[in-house]
Assembly symmetry: C2
Homo-oligomer: 449 residues x 2
């Protein structure tokens, strides 16, 4: 079979790339060995949001209970949630499949192996086929990492994939890794009543965020009586008597019903035949790309696998670019607008653009304006007054915005626009913000009032 | 006492006007006969949001219960909520007071009566004082209307002020008036378990919104088993045996524990001495202003009282303009950016810019693109798949955006920017929207995909 384009991997990057390329007239094939939608739909962003959505009432209730305005009991049926998840995800995959068909994209269900330039072998259980193509896009994503001593065993020690498939929530949970995955899953478990023990090797949780955000998160988690340890090395986590036992380097031992290992992710690049191409890889196998997202002549790598940024919407944006590039609609280098990052839960964290640490490292001057959640009536209405928004300015223009607090993701799109377009204070002044909304926290920070 | 500026009324318009004017160097007095913060803080936007916030857990739980993922019981202590409200509002008023002091603004607690150009008499219980000023700003706001047969009696028939002071929620509620006030309060009562009977004289609820939004709202309310009657005339609502009894023009009778009359509002312009000024009024007394928000030489009217738009943030924007005008910082006419309007609750409604009906009335060509809540993973996570977002285009630029659905207000700021700046499809394409967020419903509508 001869194609203009073969895309390996049908996550947000690969799927969107195939869809856009086909829309632009390229004869396109998409290869996926697992499920359409990739990690994001099946084992990542979407399932965690279903967990957080299903337990949102618990969080809202607990907040009102703390101020003695409400009380009650809520039972979430985790097994029913899993059934619902399976149904919703199947529906999404079905819709994706239909869209591929309608666009004339051939979907190959099997394992892809590159057999040299312009040649991909797809092997399924019973048969295999060779696809020939002008261009090849690698969008194979990544999967949970493990380290010596931190090896999920599918019993009490789980990776995020296994955690998302639990049909009951544990009464106590060890979380190793305080990044976005560990934090979102810990929050879902916390809402379900689990005692949380959180261990992070770096000096702070959410280490990719502004340090003030990490500090606010830690304060909120400790107020919830989580056991949060940062700057600690975990020696091992093992299953003993069907419970998880964690041992720190100082021999401290912590036991819980389950442990979640969320210490990073590694690229899916083994068994892909990349040795047959002139592709450079780094670290555990991330595919190095140039400023056209090109890894070798006629070979592109998009999404998680190129090691740039592990976010579905970043992959989708890269996908759109490469599709346009291959269809001859653009020749410019890949220069995306700012990519917002969100950590969901209660509180939420939002970050877009350049943060203070980065400007300091570059020796650039900057100014910071901020405002607090506490004076916002909507934050008060949800009994969630902890949080802030911080605007970073360089040469009197907005270059970065970060926020932490109840529903902080709600002004993600507005913040992304302000950073993308480098707003001045005057541009912010002429925007009418609705009252009362949490958006006014952003307004107050922008206007420094 | 001699001032550059006397502002009558300390709601969002009057307070913000005084604060900005003083900040710009004007010697400013502010007169308020009731409470700092006006209707918005004390009897409007803020108290309703506290009610909706306190009951948010119920709404989230009911949504998950409908799909059998969660069950439970939540009791909101309405009397505790009222105590909390009183405390929070007192705190806000105290902070406002401190800000006035810090800016050197004299606050007069009493009833203001204009005694001719540049002359305001303030009478309090024990004394009165005359203020002289160069300029006068009327920001006296408005209050609930009543009509023959629809007269709140403080027993079972309430206006919105009395509704907000209830210490228990009724088991059944008649709501007369399907505008924003009636709808938000009905939603709070519904969450507390009240059977809702909603009567609207116009052909649809939320008649200021796009007809499709009204239709979506009505469908959602009917699914909740509200008794919604539109296009009906109410003859009377009275208290009988301590219950509310409503009679329609066709003699149909409906009984409930309480009735809320929310049939519009009227300006606070009586006893203000406006006859001593060359001010034009219309309808029930709205003060007519020109394109500088000027009602007569050296007399300005801002906020609800000028009858333009009843929204706190519109009043604040007018306030800022008039302060700048009087301080000589601008001479241009008042040309605000688009003013977003939000109806809170579940679902929420958002509207900003020009809607289809208006363009049709003007004989202008337009295009509409839209997307549905149903395919959004966050809407699914909250088991709230009803809703849509609709983008109105004129000459290939965004001129209006409206949305209805769970958390639809969350992209208010982004939508306001897009309308203000008349975005093209290309501008939308280059914005990276976070995944998964409800913002993607806006993205899909913009990109028409």
């Amino acid at each position: 079979m001869q194609y203009d384009l073969v895309v390996i991997g049908a996550g947000p990057g690969g799927y969107d790339c195939a869809v856009h390329a086909a829309g632009l007239g390229l004869r396109t094939a998409l290869v996926e060995r697992d499920a359409l939608g990739g990690t994001c739909l099946n084992r990542g962003c979407v399932p965690t949001k279903l967990m957080l959505g299903a337990t949102a009432s618990i969080e809202e209730l607990q907040a009102q209970a703390r101020i003695k305005v409400a009380r009650g009991d809520i039972a979430v049926d985790w097994s029913a949630l899993q059934n619902r998840k399976d149904k919703l995800l199947a529906g999404s995959r079905k819709a994706m499949n239909a869209r591929l068909k309608s666009l004339g994209i051939d979907l190959y269900d099997g394992h892809a192996r590159v057999a040299g330039p312009g040649r991909v072998e797809v092997s399924a259980e019973t048969a295999s086929v060779v696809l020939e193509c002008t261009d090849l896009v690698l969008a194979t994503g990544c999967r949970p990492s493990s380290f010596p001593g931190l090896v999920p065993d599918g019993r009490a020690v789980l990776d995020s994939d296994a955690f998302l498939d639990l049909t009951t929530m544990p009464e106590s949970l060890i979380v190793v890794g305080g990044g976005v995955i560990g934090l979102e899953m810990a929050q879902a478990a916390h809402r379900m009543g689990a005692q949380i023990h959180l261990f992070e090797a770096l000096e702070r949780v959410a280490a990719t965020e502004d340090p003030d955000v990490s500090q606010a998160l830690q304060a909120i988690f400790r107020r919830r009586r989580w056991n949060v340890k940062t700057g600690v090395k975990v020696r091992s986590v093992t299953t003993e008597n069907e419970r998880a036992v964690l041992v720190l380097e100082d021999d401290t031992q912590v036991e819980a019903e389950k442990a979640l290992i969320a210490v990073g992710r590694r690229p899916n690049t083994e068994e892909l035949g990349l040795e047959s191409l002139d592709v450079k890889q780094r670290g555990p196998g991330w595919v190095t790309v140039d400023e056209h997202l090109c890894a070798a002549p006629h070979v592109y790598a998009i999404g998680d696998v190129n090691g740039r940024i592990q976010l579905a919407h970043a992959a989708s944006d890269q996908a759109r670019y490469v599709a346009r590039l291959l269809a001859g609609k653009t020749q410019s280098t890949y220069a995306p607008g700012p990519v917002p990052g969100v950590i969901y839960g209660s509180p939420e964290c939002l970050r877009v653009g350049t943060m203070v640490e980065e400007l300091e490292a570059q020796g650039k001057k900057y100014a910071v304006t901020s405002s607090a959640w506490a004076i916002n009536p909507i934050a008060q209405a949800h009994a969630a007054p902890q949080g802030f928004v911080k605007v970073v300015w360089h040469k009197d223009r907005v270059v970065g915005i970060t926020a932490v607090g109840h529903d902080a993701s709600r002004f993600t799109a507005a913040a992304t626009i302000m950073v993308r377009d480098g707003w001045t204070k005057e541009q912010a002044e002429s925007l009418i913000f609705a009252h009362p909304t949490l958006d006014e926290a952003l307004m107050h920070a922008l206007l420094d009032e």
